[in-house]
């Protein structure tokens, strides 16, 4: 019967769960979500591709080509750490489900 006090208190209290798909929870500062890539600032040095532990970033310097496959990404934030121009950072978006494969590729 030790949980009785909890139960009585909970009836009055606001529920601690949220109505997730309808109301999104805010994420804290520094959250590691979907990448934000600034094409203008990128110098195609390839450091992010080298640092990526799952090899999901592909860079071709001559063709000025850069792409990241989110479906393989583990969101470790290592690419953000090594980027010399800070053109790549991890944003706040965490809803990544999609029907199309193209949605997982950032260019």
């Amino acid at each position: 019967m030790k949980m009785l006090t909890d139960i009585i208190r909970n009836i009055i209290r606001k529920p601690s769960t949220g109505k997730y798909p309808y109301k999104k929870e805010p994420v804290p500062e520094g959250f590691r979500g979907k990448h934000i890539y600034d094409k203008e600032k990128c110098i195609y040095c390839g450091l992010c591709a080298k640092a990526c532990p799952v090899h999901t970033i592909g860079v071709i310097k001559d063709k000025k080509f850069w792409q990241l496959d989110l479906s393989k990404c583990i969101f470790c934030g290592r690419c953000e750490d090594v980027c010399p121009t800070k053109c790549l950072r991890l944003g706040n978006d965490y809803e990544l489900a999609s029907h199309k494969k193209e949605d997982f590729v950032i260019r």
Binding site: K2, M3, D6, S16, V27, G30, R32, P53, D81, L90
Partner: protein, 388 residues
């Protein structure tokens, strides 16, 4: 009744009481368990082999994925081992931050266990409320590291993110909240009559058996054996911190629950001291990509017990061998003496009482019964089985 002519039912590989697939064949006489066969190996992922094919820095992120719950203690041990090999001393502040994250991880892991234990004995309210309170810790971890599960805080040579003054203040407040709840849960687990009916006197593991089956962590401490790497062989800065090692001598499930809950009170104490003692300074030092030749062991106290890392380098940028022994592998055999003679109804909670984490435990050796040849299962073999 002997084991052969008894009625046997499977617990697993797919069973709601075990979240991960593992196969326990239970031999029953009515509802009494007479014996149990423990078969592991359903979750083997070939990680140790995969580690040999990647560089030290890339390994660090794979190591994090070994266990979802103790992701920080794995990287802590691995990074510690590699730093030992490279003979590098990490900054003082980084040591304290590593300890804070490790203790927060213990908090959320044990609170999760409290919920699971409640769920296994059919007490959903304990489950829901313990997990609600666990959210306090999870939110703190998310704020500090940017992710709820894979914190990625430890890196070779230090830590990746700092704990700011505001964050430290918030953490102290969170610890006060957690402390109040912990005292309540200790009261519930010791005094609630329906819980004690299920946990008192069930799943007895005597100190002698615990030693014999090499139990570690809270499982052993619940049998009255003192074994805590933080005390026995202090790593990081644990030698400078004032905390108690908790042991409890009633040997049953309640004992293990009390050990875990009281341990958390010590954890919040450690976190407060760390926040107080943390010096200013840099967060990490640079580590060369090539690690000098040598071999090293590193062990640490994970939430479930002792975690053991052996790393051997052959002077390249990839490790020659990484051997991991997780606490569940040490604990899982102690299920045998715990389960013998118990009721089937108590089986899920007894299995849960060692806080099993099977995905880190599993290892597989294939044995051809005709030729007697053995074959190790590695990453390439597993990938060849993959469906395209």
């Amino acid at each position: 009744m002997s084991k052969e002519d008894s009625y046997s039912i499977p617990l697993g590989p797919q069973h709601p009481a075990l979240i991960e697939p593992e196969y326990l064949k239970v031999h029953l006489d009515g509802e009494t368990i007479i014996d149990v066969d423990i078969n592991i190996g359903f979750m083997h992922r070939g990680i140790e082999k995969a580690l040999q094919q990647r560089t030290y820095m890339h390994d660090r992120f794979l190591i994090e994925k070994i266990c979802g719950i103790c992701s920080s203690i794995h990287t802590l041990s691995y990074c510690g081992a590699v730093e030992k090999l490279a003979v590098i001393e990490i900054p003082e502040r980084a040591k304290y931050i590593r300890m804070i994250i490790a203790e927060l991880e213990r908090l959320h892991s044990h609170l999760l266990w409290v919920g699971i234990a409640g769920y296994e004995i059919g007490f959903d309210t304990v489950f829901q409320l313990a997990w609600r309170d666990r959210e306090i810790v999870m939110n703190m971890l998310e704020k500090m590291s940017g992710n709820r599960v894979s914190y990625s805080m430890n890196t070779i040579g230090g830590v990746r993110r700092d704990i700011s003054k505001d964050m430290a203040e918030e953490l102290r407040k969170a610890m006060d909240k957690i402390d109040a709840r912990l005292h309540h849960y200790i009261d519930v687990f010791v005094n609630d009559s329906t819980i004690t009916r299920r946990t008192r006197g069930t799943g007895i593991l005597t100190g002698k058996d615990a030693r014999r089956y090499c139990a570690v962590g809270p499982t052993a401490r619940g049998s009255g054996i003192s074994c805590d790497i933080r005390k026995d062989n202090p790593y990081l800065k644990y030698s400078t911190i004032d905390f108690n090692q908790i042991t409890h001598k009633t040997l049953d499930i309640e004992s293990r629950a009390v050990v875990r809950l009281k341990e958390l009170l010590e954890s919040t104490k450690i976190i407060r001291q760390c926040l107080h003692m943390m010096p200013e300074g840099s967060l990490s030092v640079k580590v060369p990509e090539i690690i000098p030749e040598g071999e090293v062991i590193y062990h640490a106290e994970a939430p479930r017990g002792e975690i053991f890392y052996y790393v051997r380098s052959d002077g390249t940028d990839k490790p020659y061998r990484v051997k991991i022994r997780t606490p569940t592998l040490a604990n899982i055999l102690s299920l045998k003496p715990m389960l013998k003679g118990q009721q089937l109804a108590d089986m899920p909670v007894i299995v849960a009482s060692i806080d099993p984490c099977f995905s880190c435990t599993d290892r597989v050796t294939l044995l051809d019964t005709k030729t007697g040849k053995t074959k190790n299962v590695d990453e390439t073999y597993l990938k060849s089985l993959k469906r395209r």
